[in-house]
């Protein structure tokens, strides 16, 4: 029961990644692509946590946390670049 529900959730998340990649490939400006990158990070962080829960290795949670922190840094530096900051 729970496994089936989780499989459906995984399929939905994969659909979200596909749509975000669509916007990444199409997006007319670079800022649109930055939004797509942000969305993909927001989908992949729970994905990594799900991987941690299913494989039972707690160290995977640290990877998700580090990815969240560093992607925040990446988006902020992109924003600074658009703002002529860097």
């Amino acid at each position: 029961m729970a496994d089936t529900i989780l499989l459906i959730a995984l399929v939905l998340a994969a659909g979200a990644v596909l749509l975000a990649v669509l916007r990444l490939l199409r997006g007319p400006t670079a800022a649109d692509r930055a939004v797509a990158l942000d969305v993909m990070t927001l989908v992949f962080v729970p994905g990594m946590v799900a991987l941690a829960v299913f494989s039972g290795r707690k160290i995977y949670l640290d990877v998700a946390l580090v990815y969240g922190v560093l992607s925040f840094l990446g988006v902020m530096s992109l924003a600074r670049y658009f703002d002529r900051g860097i």
Partner: protein, 78 residues
């Protein structure tokens, strides 16, 4: 979940090829960041959290920042 890994691999190839073809260089930098996100997920899937963490640190933050600084210095974005 082999279909998910296959999907991620496919997306990675598509995004990487597009990154070489796209005109706007900042877009290419963002696409390289996306490729490193997908690679990091695959490393994690293969059971290498330390490699995934290094890939996240280098791919998501460091190369993005260095590429953007380089673009700004060379003025290639105009």
């Amino acid at each position: 979940m082999i279909w998910l890994d296959a999907l991620v691999c496919l997306l990675m190839i598509v995004v990487a090829v597009t990154a070489t073809a796209v005109k706007n260089l900042v877009s290419a930098v963002i696409m390289v960041g996306v490729v490193s996100l997908l690679v990091s997920y695959l490393f994690l899937r293969m059971g290498a959290p330390d490699v995934a963490m290094t890939e996240a640190a280098i791919g998501a933050a460091l190369t993005t920042v260095i590429f953007l600084i380089a673009l700004r210095r060379t003025g290639e974005d105009r």
